[in-house]
Symmetry: D2
Amino acid sequence: MVNGASNRIAIIGASGYGGLQSIRLLKDHPKFDITYLGAKRNAGKAWNDFCPYLPLDHNPLIEEINIEKISEVADFAILSLPNGLASDLVPDLLDGGLRVVDLSADYRYRSLEQWNQIYLKEASVRQRNDKHLCLEAVYGLSEWNFSKIKTSRLVASPGCFPTASLLPILPFLNQGLLEYQGIIIDSKTGTSGGGRTPQEKLLLSEAAESIAPYGVIGHRHTSEIEQLTSEVTGQQTYLQFTPHLVPMAKGLLSTVYGRLRDPGLTAEDCRTVLDSFYRNQPCIEVLPVGIYPATKWVRNTNRALLSVQVDNRNGRVIFTSVIDNLIKGQAGQGIQNLNIMAGYEQELGLPLVTFYP
Amino acid sequence: MVNGASNRIAIIGASGYGGLQSIRLLKDHPKFDITYLGAKRNAGKAWNDFCPYLPLDHNPLIEEINIEKISEVADFAILSLPNGLASDLVPDLLDGGLRVVDLSADYRYRSLEQWNQIYLKEASVRQRNDKHLCLEAVYGLSEWNFSKIKTSRLVASPGCFPTASLLPILPFLNQGLLEYQGIIIDSKTGTSGGGRTPQEKLLLSEAAESIAPYGVIGHRHTSEIEQLTSEVTGQQTYLQFTPHLVPMAKGLLSTVYGRLRDPGLTAEDCRTVLDSFYRNQPCIEVLPVGIYPATKWVRNTNRALLSVQVDNRNGRVIFTSVIDNLIKGQAGQGIQNLNIMAGYEQELGLPLVTFYP
Amino acid sequence: MVNGASNRIAIIGASGYGGLQSIRLLKDHPKFDITYLGAKRNAGKAWNDFCPYLPLDHNPLIEEINIEKISEVADFAILSLPNGLASDLVPDLLDGGLRVVDLSADYRYRSLEQWNQIYLKEASVRQRNDKHLCLEAVYGLSEWNFSKIKTSRLVASPGCFPTASLLPILPFLNQGLLEYQGIIIDSKTGTSGGGRTPQEKLLLSEAAESIAPYGVIGHRHTSEIEQLTSEVTGQQTYLQFTPHLVPMAKGLLSTVYGRLRDPGLTAEDCRTVLDSFYRNQPCIEVLPVGIYPATKWVRNTNRALLSVQVDNRNGRVIFTSVIDNLIKGQAGQGIQNLNIMAGYEQELGLPLVTFYP
Amino acid sequence: MVNGASNRIAIIGASGYGGLQSIRLLKDHPKFDITYLGAKRNAGKAWNDFCPYLPLDHNPLIEEINIEKISEVADFAILSLPNGLASDLVPDLLDGGLRVVDLSADYRYRSLEQWNQIYLKEASVRQRNDKHLCLEAVYGLSEWNFSKIKTSRLVASPGCFPTASLLPILPFLNQGLLEYQGIIIDSKTGTSGGGRTPQEKLLLSEAAESIAPYGVIGHRHTSEIEQLTSEVTGQQTYLQFTPHLVPMAKGLLSTVYGRLRDPGLTAEDCRTVLDSFYRNQPCIEVLPVGIYPATKWVRNTNRALLSVQVDNRNGRVIFTSVIDNLIKGQAGQGIQNLNIMAGYEQELGLPLVTFYP
């Protein structure tokens, strides 16, 4: 990796899962160089001691987060921090001339008021003054906001649930093919979606050999999804979103139930709609009618697999959509956005085919 | 277990999961004795050699299926056979004076024609002449058909998905509180639901670290569920049922989405509806509002845990319901029915509290 | 459970896995009543709110640990606390007239000095003055110390690894059939062996789809095992013990490699040795030669399954031994000891057959 | 992948796990082209329909196995077939001018007689006349037989257990640092080691939440390992090898116990021995003393991670070694050998760093 001066990447929040995935993906990237690794908890450690399963050349030190230093050594920053913390750093990073991809929720809402309401706990311990940045930030659903991302200084990478859930329905909502009310999203995620900070419910002893819903009614990602569906339809939409915790480390499946406006559409018709929309998108694949995806089919890749089926008895359409929650659902899409911002092919350096089994 | 002559049980189909669970549960049952173990594949073997993890006193032989012999030594028969095979045996067993609990789908439909359509493959290799038995058989959802089961000669124990999915919604449909169209059932099951016969998709190598939908549109249990919802509402209902395969051996969760007829009902109101209905049912527990069940909470028990939540923004009601797919979803409910038929407390000998974790 | 005044049990440390298992087992016990639930972290909560998957009649309050109160309401105490904490309470509990089963390591060593060395961290924050109790305490390997346990005031229940590892070899060492040096114990445990306190390495995201050794050389249980093997052989033994973390919640397997003193012994001979020793032990089963146990065969039971094989080429004997690490390896053996102390059948109220799968 | 005419690869046995991994690895390989996909079971199907999670450009047909055709279109063949079948094909393939990497056991023994004894069942249904090829074949433990592999026509890739177990001990045996008798290898493997053909014991319902030994005494890989240890030491060695089935899809760990000839060697000394030996081997990494590898650290990579520890109390040395059983333990090492045969860097196109978690 010998790159030009404009391809230097700082990773801030290196020891969580988002950081780990970012580093792993960038390690093999043909155009980007990691020039800064910052973290709070593990600052001062040599990377390879901290992380023997992901050794880096020259065994870099994990550094304290220092904006000035970052501005000197990097052109882009990937922020993989707990919600709220990014907003403490982003204004200064932008002032320092960096372009930023933030993996947290801090800039996903165009309205700071809404963020303050939904991320109540995070909002209660800080006073944000970056309303303008919320408006400026581009929602980084790569396939949907490609051209805005290209020129953006600040990209808010979407949550894992919104990514998987929006990809199949946005084309239908956009073309007015789907009733915009009454959509039901039943999602299933692996435990790594809950992060790396130890919690009782994420212990193998607790989560193994079990599936359970959580955050029924009012999970934070509901509003994030609704922001997009409302924007695309021009109508305030209210949908049902229920996440479930599945006994696996990685992977996310959304099963989305809607109602076709034209009940005459067949499954093949619907597949054509999706396929036309995503035909030139290297990170999205639409499966043949009757083939349903498993999360394992995309593990460790930046690909989303979509499928659509129609129940002719009642006009229902059922979408299924799988991603790797930490790759296309987080760090991979972050680097896809980085590729777009830097003018490269969006899939550059991103794995698209899994190792099976 | 020294019992009266009328508590002798034959288990037919002893080596599959339904048989194994039945034997395990009956081994500890205070009133029933297993007097006959029949199986096709493993006939001739001594039980304890075949099954060292479930040793039986006196190490009985697994026998060829012989109706005459069964009639002599047993009062009740539990059939745990692949679909279709029960209908080959049941008429003769009833003629022999036995009372039968069938764990297969053979007598779940009141209409033999419908069974012939839905179990097409099984129907194609046999000509059933037991239309009258289809009509006579009682659908063994224990809490729903208690008094009919009590006096029945032939009980068709429900499928695992119908059990978990119907329990929360029948009280609402029965009282006209739920719109009977548009119900969506998103179910998740462990691999043992697919049986013990080796199949590639059920290998740990394939199913682990993955979740996937299957049988989207037209899974056989759809019609079984609809038969009940139509019966209870007096209207032909069409609902959406989507099963998913979860990387765990046991457990089943149904997340059911419906719409309240009276949008003024709160979650507490809905909980009260469920709780009133099931208050005296020892095998069903309704959780407090805001507590959602994990399948692990009922593993190896005959209990169903139900929860209900309401989204006031759009009048949606969301039910969650967990069971052990092989116990309350199969063999345990079979024995619950046996208890009812024999005049015992329905939960006699059935575990109701799990070992956690 | 209406019991005499001498069967009242206090559980101290109710919210960890040892406490949970103890409560679950005692809930169904025909002779003991739980009359006190004490915990530090969750004191003040109503039990059923804290633990909806294990509801108790009358929904008792979790109480602060109060020795005086415990002495009033209980005859026996089960202590399930982090190492070190038991020694803070046990002297007073004994003074208060209780008989104590301690599930921690505090009284497993006859020498307080050794405990101070091995449990260095725990010893560094307290000054223990209960040398006499270390000498008085009986090591609660139930089958081995039955008669001492019967009359003891203080039983130190063994660790999970020592239990599984010692059961197959003690009869051989005792009879001088096995070389006492050079024994190798390769153990494999589920994650619940690491307790319920959240730790990164026990997260499903980390531990799933992986196996790893830990504590190679010098794991604390090495000395606990050696204490017994030295005692039985009358020789200071040094053995090799290596634990491994397996991606499952529960279960423990020890594969033990030794060398026969008489190389002419066959596998059948060795099986006879084990079987003769344990024939009347309800919680131990010796498998036929050529059948090897899976941990799943004893999940949620208080049974150990043992197997033995001999390699005639080199005189090696290989023992395999499985237990449920939280039952026979912890709380179940604790209650087995309680049964012995109270004069009941040792297996009273303890499950011995698993639900498979 | 536009390659010279001498880099065309035929994969025979494409639909099992060995085939799948080979195809996945070659898909990204910069120098090799897959020009033929042969299989028995799935011949006639279009690849992408059979395998939607591993789509190939131009969606090739799976072909019947036709030696003449293979000889025309390929320079190398990778055989991934059940034991015995390779020996039916290899003589003709070699005659057709191909160079062959066989992933089965057919050519791992220099003595056909020994193969006939150990692979008794396979030998009973065929009469092999390729004694000379057994002698000619090179045992494909890449790091050990590098120069012989380079010029070989026929490479027998080692089994997964021998690969993981031999890598840490061969350098010690070779230098006379380890006693060559009394070695104990306790191995743990994921279920994919048992292949893709459905078997009851490999079902998730059976294998999950459990660990069990199998093939205690006399597993076939014992003799394969002993062939190498005997060769290297010049002495007939007899060692103990016990495999265990772990509830995970992929990954293999060997914990190897031996005795140092010079008991004065420290763990650091032993690490130096290993490290010196493998310093220039890109697929092998020796961990610092005190760091033990998890199988997850090498999942989906062709890397082996080794660790060594010494117990000074008794002169024992303990090696731990992890690989991905299907990559470095099978198909990856096959391609490593292919790279060597074709004169490329041995790690060309092979992933060496995992995606964690």
